[in-house]
Symmetry: C2
Protein backbone atom coordinates (compact mmCIF):
# COMPACT_ATOMS: atom_id res chain seq x y z
CA UNK A 1 0.00 0.00 0.00
CA UNK A 2 2.47 2.62 -1.19
CA UNK A 3 0.36 4.67 -3.56
CA UNK A 4 0.11 8.38 -2.88
CA UNK A 5 -3.59 8.98 -3.37
CA UNK A 6 -3.88 12.75 -3.06
CA UNK A 7 -1.84 15.91 -2.85
CA UNK A 8 -2.27 16.23 0.90
CA UNK A 9 0.80 17.33 2.83
CA UNK A 10 0.12 14.72 5.53
CA UNK A 11 0.16 11.89 3.01
CA UNK A 12 3.23 13.34 1.33
CA UNK A 13 5.15 13.44 4.61
CA UNK A 14 3.93 9.99 5.61
CA UNK A 15 4.87 8.35 2.32
CA UNK A 16 8.22 10.10 1.86
CA UNK A 17 9.03 9.22 5.46
CA UNK A 18 8.15 5.60 4.84
CA UNK A 19 10.33 5.41 1.72
CA UNK A 20 13.15 7.18 3.51
CA UNK A 21 12.88 4.64 6.32
CA UNK A 22 12.98 1.81 3.80
CA UNK A 23 16.13 3.26 2.22
CA UNK A 24 17.78 3.54 5.63
CA UNK A 25 16.79 -0.01 6.58
CA UNK A 26 18.43 -1.16 3.37
CA UNK A 27 21.59 0.67 4.41
CA UNK A 28 21.52 -1.00 7.83
CA UNK A 29 21.12 -4.37 6.14
CA UNK A 30 24.13 -3.63 3.94
CA UNK A 31 26.05 -2.88 7.14
CA UNK A 32 25.05 -6.37 8.32
CA UNK A 33 22.47 -5.44 10.94
CA UNK A 34 18.76 -5.95 11.37
CA UNK A 35 17.19 -2.50 11.78
CA UNK A 36 16.00 -3.05 15.35
CA UNK A 37 19.42 -4.42 16.31
CA UNK A 38 21.14 -1.39 14.79
CA UNK A 39 18.81 0.97 16.67
CA UNK A 40 19.59 -0.88 19.88
CA UNK A 41 23.35 -0.62 19.31
CA UNK A 42 22.98 3.12 18.65
CA UNK A 43 21.29 3.59 22.00
CA UNK A 44 24.09 1.66 23.70
CA UNK A 45 26.89 3.67 22.10
CA UNK A 46 26.97 6.50 24.69
CA UNK A 47 27.20 4.06 27.59
CA UNK A 48 25.90 0.89 29.25
CA UNK A 49 22.40 0.80 30.71
CA UNK A 50 19.97 -1.63 32.29
CA UNK A 51 17.87 -3.84 30.06
CA UNK A 52 14.69 -2.25 31.39
CA UNK A 53 15.87 1.30 30.70
CA UNK A 54 16.99 0.21 27.26
CA UNK A 55 13.52 -1.14 26.51
CA UNK A 56 12.06 2.17 27.70
CA UNK A 57 14.20 4.40 25.45
CA UNK A 58 13.67 2.08 22.48
CA UNK A 59 9.93 2.04 23.21
CA UNK A 60 9.74 -1.72 22.79
CA UNK A 61 8.26 -4.25 25.20
CA UNK A 62 10.92 -5.82 27.48
CA UNK A 63 9.98 -9.22 26.07
CA UNK A 64 10.92 -8.10 22.56
CA UNK A 65 14.25 -6.81 23.74
CA UNK A 66 15.18 -10.31 24.89
CA UNK A 67 15.32 -11.58 21.32
CA UNK A 68 17.22 -8.50 20.13
CA UNK A 69 19.88 -8.88 22.81
CA UNK A 70 20.12 -12.63 22.21
CA UNK A 71 21.00 -11.86 18.59
CA UNK A 72 23.42 -9.05 19.44
CA UNK A 73 25.12 -11.22 22.06
CA UNK A 74 25.17 -14.18 19.68
CA UNK A 75 27.09 -12.14 17.13
CA UNK A 76 29.33 -10.60 19.78
CA UNK A 77 28.14 -7.02 19.33
CA UNK A 78 26.78 -6.50 22.86
CA UNK A 79 27.03 -8.16 26.26
CA UNK A 80 24.73 -8.68 29.24
CA UNK A 81 26.10 -8.89 32.75
CA UNK A 82 24.39 -9.01 36.13
CA UNK A 83 24.21 -5.81 38.14
CA UNK A 84 26.04 -6.70 41.37
CA UNK A 85 23.99 -4.08 43.24
CA UNK A 86 20.67 -5.68 42.15
CA UNK A 87 21.01 -9.20 40.85
CA UNK A 88 17.67 -9.02 39.03
CA UNK A 89 19.06 -6.42 36.65
CA UNK A 90 21.12 -6.90 33.52
CA UNK A 91 23.63 -4.24 32.53
CA UNK A 92 23.85 -4.14 28.75
CA UNK A 93 27.03 -2.91 27.09
CA UNK A 94 28.23 -2.56 23.53
CA UNK A 95 31.41 -4.49 22.63
CA UNK A 96 34.35 -3.38 20.51
CA UNK A 97 32.93 -5.43 17.65
CA UNK A 98 29.66 -3.59 18.24
CA UNK A 99 31.40 -0.23 17.96
CA UNK A 100 33.02 -1.37 14.72
CA UNK A 101 29.60 -2.42 13.41
CA UNK A 102 28.24 0.99 14.33
CA UNK A 103 30.95 2.63 12.24
CA UNK A 104 29.84 0.57 9.25
CA UNK A 105 26.26 1.59 10.01
CA UNK A 106 27.28 5.22 10.15
CA UNK A 107 28.92 5.07 6.73
CA UNK A 108 26.01 3.24 5.15
CA UNK A 109 23.45 5.69 6.56
CA UNK A 110 25.55 8.65 5.43
CA UNK A 111 25.63 7.24 1.93
CA UNK A 112 21.85 6.72 2.01
CA UNK A 113 21.34 10.31 3.12
CA UNK A 114 23.61 11.59 0.36
CA UNK A 115 21.35 9.83 -2.14
CA UNK A 116 18.09 10.86 -0.49
CA UNK A 117 18.96 14.54 -0.23
CA UNK A 118 21.14 14.85 -3.32
CA UNK A 119 18.73 17.40 -4.83
CA UNK A 120 18.80 19.67 -1.78
CA UNK A 121 21.51 22.16 -0.87
CA UNK A 122 22.77 22.01 2.68
CA UNK A 123 20.82 25.19 3.39
CA UNK A 124 17.65 23.54 2.09
CA UNK A 125 18.40 20.50 4.24
CA UNK A 126 18.58 22.80 7.25
CA UNK A 127 15.24 24.35 6.33
CA UNK A 128 13.71 20.89 5.97
CA UNK A 129 15.10 19.86 9.34
CA UNK A 130 13.70 22.91 11.08
CA UNK A 131 10.27 22.50 9.50
CA UNK A 132 10.11 18.80 10.40
CA UNK A 133 11.07 19.68 13.96
CA UNK A 134 7.97 21.85 14.20
CA UNK A 135 5.51 19.21 13.01
CA UNK A 136 3.30 18.27 15.95
CA UNK A 137 3.78 14.60 16.69
CA UNK A 138 2.30 14.07 20.14
CA UNK A 139 3.41 10.70 21.40
CA UNK A 140 0.55 8.54 22.54
CA UNK A 141 -1.98 5.89 21.56
CA UNK A 142 -2.30 6.49 17.85
CA UNK A 143 -3.33 3.28 16.19
CA UNK A 144 -5.96 2.22 13.77
CA UNK A 145 -9.30 0.55 14.15
CA UNK A 146 -12.00 -0.56 11.75
Amino acid sequence: MAAEPSDRLGFLLSFRGELTGARIRTALGVAGLHPRNAMTLMQLAPGAMSQRDLAAVLEVDPSQLVAILNELEGSGLAERRRDPADRRRHIVEITEAGEAALERVDSAVSEAERELFANLTSEEQDVLRRLLDRVVVERGDHDCSE
Copy 2:
Protein backbone atom coordinates in the same frame (compact mmCIF):
# COMPACT_ATOMS: atom_id res chain seq x y z
CA MET B 1 11.07 0.99 18.04
CA ALA B 2 10.17 4.68 17.91
CA ALA B 3 13.21 6.30 19.51
CA GLU B 4 15.04 8.91 17.48
CA PRO B 5 18.64 7.90 18.05
CA SER B 6 20.59 10.68 16.36
CA ASP B 7 20.21 14.07 14.77
CA ARG B 8 20.37 12.70 11.24
CA LEU B 9 17.96 14.24 8.76
CA GLY B 10 17.13 10.81 7.35
CA PHE B 11 16.04 9.51 10.74
CA LEU B 12 14.14 12.71 11.43
CA LEU B 13 12.18 12.43 8.19
CA SER B 14 11.58 8.71 8.70
CA PHE B 15 10.31 9.08 12.28
CA ARG B 16 8.20 12.19 11.70
CA GLY B 17 6.74 10.49 8.65
CA GLU B 18 5.94 7.40 10.69
CA LEU B 19 4.21 9.43 13.41
CA THR B 20 2.35 11.46 10.81
CA GLY B 21 1.17 8.22 9.23
CA ALA B 22 0.02 6.95 12.61
CA ARG B 23 -1.94 10.15 13.19
CA ILE B 24 -3.60 9.83 9.80
CA ARG B 25 -4.43 6.15 10.38
CA THR B 26 -6.11 7.20 13.62
CA ALA B 27 -8.17 9.72 11.65
CA LEU B 28 -9.19 7.04 9.15
CA GLY B 29 -10.21 4.80 12.03
CA VAL B 30 -12.33 7.60 13.48
CA ALA B 31 -13.99 7.86 10.07
CA GLY B 32 -14.82 4.14 10.40
CA LEU B 33 -12.36 2.72 7.89
CA HIS B 34 -9.36 0.45 8.06
CA PRO B 35 -6.41 2.35 6.52
CA ARG B 36 -5.96 0.02 3.56
CA ASN B 37 -9.70 0.10 2.86
CA ALA B 38 -9.69 3.89 2.95
CA MET B 39 -6.73 4.01 0.55
CA THR B 40 -8.57 1.65 -1.78
CA LEU B 41 -11.72 3.79 -1.73
CA MET B 42 -9.63 6.87 -2.50
CA GLN B 43 -8.24 5.20 -5.61
CA LEU B 44 -11.77 4.27 -6.71
CA ALA B 45 -13.16 7.78 -6.27
CA PRO B 46 -12.21 9.11 -9.74
CA GLY B 47 -13.81 6.14 -11.48
CA ALA B 48 -14.24 2.37 -11.68
CA MET B 49 -11.35 0.14 -12.68
CA SER B 50 -10.44 -3.53 -12.94
CA GLN B 51 -9.36 -5.40 -9.83
CA ARG B 52 -5.95 -6.06 -11.35
CA ASP B 53 -5.32 -2.42 -12.20
CA LEU B 54 -6.48 -1.47 -8.73
CA ALA B 55 -3.94 -3.84 -7.18
CA ALA B 56 -1.27 -2.30 -9.39
CA VAL B 57 -1.92 1.32 -8.40
CA LEU B 58 -2.22 0.36 -4.73
CA GLU B 59 0.99 -1.67 -5.02
CA VAL B 60 -0.51 -4.62 -3.20
CA ASP B 61 -0.59 -8.24 -4.29
CA PRO B 62 -3.87 -9.16 -6.03
CA SER B 63 -4.46 -11.78 -3.33
CA GLN B 64 -4.43 -9.10 -0.63
CA LEU B 65 -6.91 -6.99 -2.53
CA VAL B 66 -9.43 -9.83 -2.35
CA ALA B 67 -9.80 -9.40 1.41
CA ILE B 68 -9.97 -5.62 1.13
CA LEU B 69 -12.75 -5.75 -1.45
CA ASN B 70 -14.62 -8.42 0.52
CA GLU B 71 -14.70 -6.03 3.46
CA LEU B 72 -15.64 -3.00 1.37
CA GLU B 73 -18.38 -4.95 -0.38
CA GLY B 74 -19.55 -6.42 2.93
CA SER B 75 -20.08 -2.92 4.32
CA GLY B 76 -21.62 -1.69 1.07
CA LEU B 77 -18.88 0.82 0.24
CA ALA B 78 -17.79 -0.73 -3.07
CA GLU B 79 -19.09 -3.25 -5.58
CA ARG B 80 -17.58 -5.84 -7.89
CA ARG B 81 -19.22 -6.73 -11.16
CA ARG B 82 -18.08 -8.92 -14.05
CA ASP B 83 -16.66 -7.22 -17.10
CA PRO B 84 -18.99 -8.35 -19.91
CA ALA B 85 -16.16 -7.93 -22.42
CA ASP B 86 -13.89 -10.33 -20.51
CA ARG B 87 -15.68 -12.46 -17.97
CA ARG B 88 -12.47 -13.15 -16.03
CA ARG B 89 -12.25 -9.50 -15.03
CA HIS B 90 -13.96 -7.70 -12.17
CA ILE B 91 -14.89 -4.04 -12.52
CA VAL B 92 -14.68 -2.41 -9.10
CA GLU B 93 -16.76 0.64 -8.36
CA ILE B 94 -17.33 2.84 -5.33
CA THR B 95 -20.95 3.08 -4.09
CA GLU B 96 -22.84 6.13 -2.83
CA ALA B 97 -22.24 4.92 0.72
CA GLY B 98 -18.57 4.69 -0.21
CA GLU B 99 -18.56 8.28 -1.41
CA ALA B 100 -20.19 9.34 1.85
CA ALA B 101 -17.54 7.43 3.79
CA LEU B 102 -14.85 9.21 1.77
CA GLU B 103 -16.32 12.56 2.80
CA ARG B 104 -15.98 11.54 6.45
CA VAL B 105 -12.42 10.44 5.71
CA ASP B 106 -11.69 13.77 4.09
CA SER B 107 -12.89 15.71 7.13
CA ALA B 108 -10.99 13.51 9.56
CA VAL B 109 -7.74 13.78 7.58
CA SER B 110 -8.14 17.54 7.28
CA GLU B 111 -8.53 17.80 11.03
CA ALA B 112 -5.43 15.61 11.53
CA GLU B 113 -3.44 17.85 9.18
CA ARG B 114 -4.60 20.96 11.01
CA GLU B 115 -3.16 19.49 14.19
CA LEU B 116 0.03 18.19 12.61
CA PHE B 117 0.91 21.45 10.87
CA ALA B 118 -0.59 23.88 13.40
CA ASN B 119 2.86 25.38 14.04
CA LEU B 120 3.55 26.09 10.36
CA THR B 121 2.20 28.99 8.33
CA SER B 122 0.68 28.09 4.99
CA GLU B 123 3.81 29.48 3.32
CA GLU B 124 5.96 27.19 5.44
CA GLN B 125 3.71 24.28 4.55
CA ASP B 126 4.31 25.07 0.88
CA VAL B 127 8.06 25.13 1.46
CA LEU B 128 7.86 21.79 3.27
CA ARG B 129 5.84 20.31 0.42
CA ARG B 130 8.32 21.47 -2.21
CA LEU B 131 11.30 20.18 -0.26
CA LEU B 132 9.68 16.78 0.34
CA ASP B 133 8.88 16.57 -3.36
CA ARG B 134 12.59 16.81 -4.11
CA VAL B 135 13.66 14.02 -1.77
CA VAL B 136 14.91 11.13 -3.89
CA VAL B 137 12.76 8.11 -3.22
CA GLU B 138 13.51 5.69 -6.04
CA ARG B 139 10.83 3.01 -6.04
CA GLY B 140 12.24 -0.46 -5.99
CA ASP B 141 13.38 -3.36 -3.82
CA HIS B 142 14.36 -1.66 -0.62
CA ASP B 143 13.94 -4.07 2.26
CA CYS B 144 16.03 -5.18 5.15
CA SER B 145 18.18 -8.23 5.72
CA GLU B 146 20.27 -9.47 8.63
